[in-house]
């Protein structure tokens, strides 16, 4: 068995059959990290002692027949803005280089209760926003498919660690696409759940109104298994929604026959997209149609509109979060983040309010369209992974984002691989978004697609 690239579901079955043990898997992955991560910098901190202790505990319980659930004995990593009691949580920033939280984030508490094995803290763009940056205490993560390219951001470490076969699962965060973007360019699966589905408590904020915590894995099936463990109401998170948590895995096999899917016009095929993206999405649509889905085109506002709305809101909130540090120690921020925070100081209250009112209008537009289709289909990223060049211009507001529309509306959206570019051999990605709290719909579509294709089974060969 190729341990580094087994899925959560496969590991779970191997544990049940006693073909593998959590300690054996954990040691194999720690060895792999030690050999290879020096070239990819996906980890800020490998928690080897914690991982071995977690693995021994999981192994003892599983051997005794006490299985806690699908994540029991599964090695995972955490983006380093997710707080861990007693383990430094840096935000990949000089400002929090020595910060050691006293409490676990709620999502960590749930992962521990589920019997997961913490392998370490993963790289991010500075505070999940400023990147890629080359002037921070740790280097930016690199893409295992091509070390001269980046793994996207801001959940750069989770994307790289999964693609490299260092972990079976990871927790990322997504404000404007920071789970789906890295998933797209690293050839893995990433879900931004509905806003309020997974608690944000104990995760360093990027904004107040658009942050989402979500799973990153190798397959849609694994996303369902991980979401089951981390989803649920948290009264201590003001944005958390008290909605029932369905059985995500049970809905996976319902297939797509009869579903109506809306391919969004003018997003994945707009100028500036990779030339091989539109054909790859067309082929994915053909696969879904062969499986029985009905695909029609839908028209939504432009990516430019969604990007302007989202970025104005997030920059204003970002400044509020970092104002004190920016006034007192601006030199300690990386250049990219400092220049993203500062505009928030100049955004007027009326600009922020106009953007928030626009958000309502844009979200209503999507909700109306979701009364005629069961899900939206588009790309997970408009381009392949970008080169790792320190002096590239900041693309935050210059390039429209294909992930921000679903950040604005708060609906669940998953990115999964749907091909590779011919010249660069880099992953291309499909994005599927559904109505609020209909993660089951997005997951069953993604799972049906992955049962019919093998893009998610491919992985880079590390030299």
């Amino acid at each position: 068995m190729d341990i580094p690239f087994l899925t959560i579901a496969e590991l779970d079955r191997a544990y049940a059959r006693r073909e593998l043990s959590p300690v054996e898997v954990t040691r194999a992955l720690l060895d792999r990290i030690a050999v290879h991560d020096g070239r990819f910098d996906s980890f800020i901190r490998v928690t080897e002692d914690v991982a071995i202790a977690d693995a021994k505990a999981a192994e003892a319980e599983l051997m005794a027949g006490r299985r806690r659930g699908p994540l029991h004995g599964i090695p995972y990593g955490l983006k380093d803005i997710v707080e861990t009691a007693g383990i430094p949580t840096t935000g990949h920033s000089k400002l929090r280089q020595h910060h050691v939280p006293e409490r676990d984030a709620e999502v960590v508490r749930r992962l521990k209760a589920g019997g997961g094995i913490l392998m370490g803290k993963l790289a991010t763009w500075e505070f999940a926003n400023g990147g890629p940056s080359f002037d921070l205490p740790w280097p930016p993560a690199r893409n295992p498919w091509d070390r001269d390219r980046l793994p996207g951001g801001s959940s750069s470490g989770p994307g790289a660690a999964l693609a490299a076969g260092f972990v079976a699962a990871a927790i990322g965060t997504d404000t404007g696409g920071s789970i789906r973007g890295p998933a797209a360019v690293c050839g893995i699966a990433g879900l931004k759940p509905t806003y309020g589905r997974v608690s944000r408590r104990g995760v360093f904020p990027n904004t107040f109104t658009m942050d989402h915590i979500g799973p990153m894995t190798r397959s849609a099936e694994d996303i369902a298994l991980m979401l089951q463990v981390i989803a649920g109401f948290d009264p201590a998170d003001p944005g958390s929604e008290d909605c029932p948590v369905p059985d995500y895995a049970a809905a996976l096999d319902e297939g797509v026959a009869g579903l109506r899917l809306g391919l969004v016009e003018g997003w994945h095929d707009a100028p500036g997209a990779h030339p091989e993206l539109a054909p790859a999405i067309a082929e994915a649509v053909s696969v879904l149609e062969r499986l029985g889905a009905r695909v029609e085109t839908v028209k939504l506002s432009s990516l430019r509109d969604y990007t302007d709305c989202k970025t104005t809101i997030s920059i204003a909130e970002l400044y509020t979060i970092h104002e004190r540090d920016l006034r007192t120690r601006p030199q300690d921020f990386g250049r990219v983040l400092r220049n993203r925070i500062l505009p928030g100081a100049l955004i007027r209250a009326e600009d922020y309010q106009a953007a928030l009112r626009w958000r309502t209008a844009l979200a209503r537009e999507q909700m109306a369209a979701l009364k005629t289709v069961d899900a939206f289909i588009t790309a997970g990223a408009r381009n392949i992974a970008e080169p790792a060049e320190p002096d590239r211009p900041d693309r935050l507001v210059t390039a429209p984002s294909i992930t921000m529309p679903f950040s604005v509306s708060g609906v669940p959206a998953i990115a999964i691989p749907c091909g590779f570019s011919a010249a660069e051999r880099m992953p291309l990605s499909l994005q599927i978004a559904a109505a609020p709290f209909r993660e089951t719909t997005a997951l069953r579509i993604a799972h049906a697609y992955q049962l019919a294709t093998d893009w998610h089974r491919r992985h880079p060969v590390l030299e």
Partner: protein, 73 residues
């Protein structure tokens, strides 16, 4: 016709410096120059935001006292 502010002229470097001062931001000259190069993109973005919503159109996140009441329980 869209009701936004994109017709306004871009801020000059002196105006950007003045806005930073009014916001209470003090930066090294190197960082000021970096920001002067960055700000026009953000300014153009903010000015593209449509205005002219109806008076009853509320922001996306309205005050929800029931949630606060739940916290107190």
């Amino acid at each position: 016709m869209r009701d936004d502010l994109s017709h306004l002229p871009p801020a000059t470097p002196d105006e950007i410096r003045a806005m930073l001062r009014r916001a209470g931001i003090e930066l090294a000259e190197e960082h000021v120059l970096q920001f002067i190069a960055t700000w026009p993109q953000f300014e153009a973005m903010v000015r593209r935001i449509p205005r002219g919503f109806g008076y009853a159109d509320e922001p996306a996140h309205t005050f929800r006292p029931t949630r606060l009441a739940g916290e107190a329980e």
